[in-house]
């Protein structure tokens, strides 16, 4: 099978940002994204799905290193200061690399 390595960018942040992030991610060149509802705790305290507006989402984006960097920088510049947000990167082997 033809495989290739890509970056897996994971963002955990406030549910209120979902529609906004969805646009940003596409605009910055990623081919897609996967979103899961989440809850959790961090520097901004407990964020619980108990009440939608205060819950989290967990967004995954598979893309090449350049796109990943672009997205990270954009998020850092626009959301870091004011929103609950955690971002981390890892390497993954994707099938159908042409997709990403």
């Amino acid at each position: 099978m033809d495989k290739d390595t890509r970056k897996l960018l994971t963002i955990v942040t406030e549910a209120a940002l979902e529609s906004e992030l969805a646009q940003v991610i596409r605009r910055l060149g990623a081919s897609g994204y996967t979103i899961v509802d989440a809850r959790g705790r961090g520097s901004r305290g407990v964020r619980d799905a108990g009440w939608s507006s205060s819950s989290n989402i967990r967004v995954e984006v598979i893309c090449d290193i350049e796109t990943a960097t672009r997205i990270c920088e954009y998020l850092r510049d626009h959301y870091y200061r004011n929103y609950a947000m955690v971002i981390y990167l890892s390497d993954v082997t994707v099938l159908r690399p042409e997709k990403f």
Binding site: E14, A16, E20, G45, A49, G50, W51, S52, S53, S54, S55, Y79, R81, N82, Y83
Partner: protein, 310 residues
Amino acid sequence: MDPVILFFLLGFIAGISRSELRLPPAIYELLSILLLLSIGLKGGIELSRQPLGDVLPQSLGVLIMGFLLPLPVFAALRFVGRLDRANAGSIAGHYGSVSVGTYAVGVAYLASKGVTYEAHLALFLVLLEMPAIVVGILLARGIGRRSDFGRLAHEIFLGKSIVLLLGGLMIGWIAGAEGIAPLEPLFFDAFKGVLALFLLEMGLIAAGQARALRERGPLIIATGLLAPVPLACCGALLGWWFGLSVGGTTLLALLAGSCSYIAAPAAMRIAIPEANPALSLTASLGVTFPFNIFVGIPLYFALATWLYGG
């Protein structure tokens, strides 16, 4: 005491004592959707019974009040409370706007007292939701950064609560009483039961907010306790000036004195990111909401009765 308030107490106590009791978010959604539609439908049916013309001038007056209410709150927070501009604007927007839950409890209160009120209060509820939020944002940010005002407008005018309230109003207005009749079992007969469950969840949420009060400090408590009554008085006076019934005056006072926790937080989070959402939410849900349903409603009712020399 009205049993629906006991449900709020139950939720609050359960929350404070960290019980595992929790309503699934989907259920909370359903309950608020039902409340919003019921209120809208009821208002629409009543409106369909009278010429809209009479309502327009009053509506205009209510809109204007909506734009003005945030100003005193902002001034107080900014210059007395020494709060930064972003948070002062955000909180002012919350208090200028309205709380559907509080309104629903008020309606139940009047019903249990057998007091009637004007049809178009539901319309006022819709009209009061948006203006204050816009003003609060302008107060926080100045007229600059117009760029995303389009998105903001979308956020405000297509938010869940507006769409359902306005939609309900329209449908009730078009279909009229007999048209809506078959919908009554779900939307009207079950109303108070739905409200009870809703308040149970509100109690749980309020408890969570109340626990956070310590960290938030005295300013939030003060705001939550002191803001409602003066604002409610503006509402009461306007209602009195309009010559509304005692019930209508009570509800208009309640609307003015209530604090948004659905529309405003969502809009503010996007429009004033630098404002700390915890502050406004704690004041609104942890202090003002309980204050209004326990102390406020009877107080505003007494005020309205007194205004009419009752």
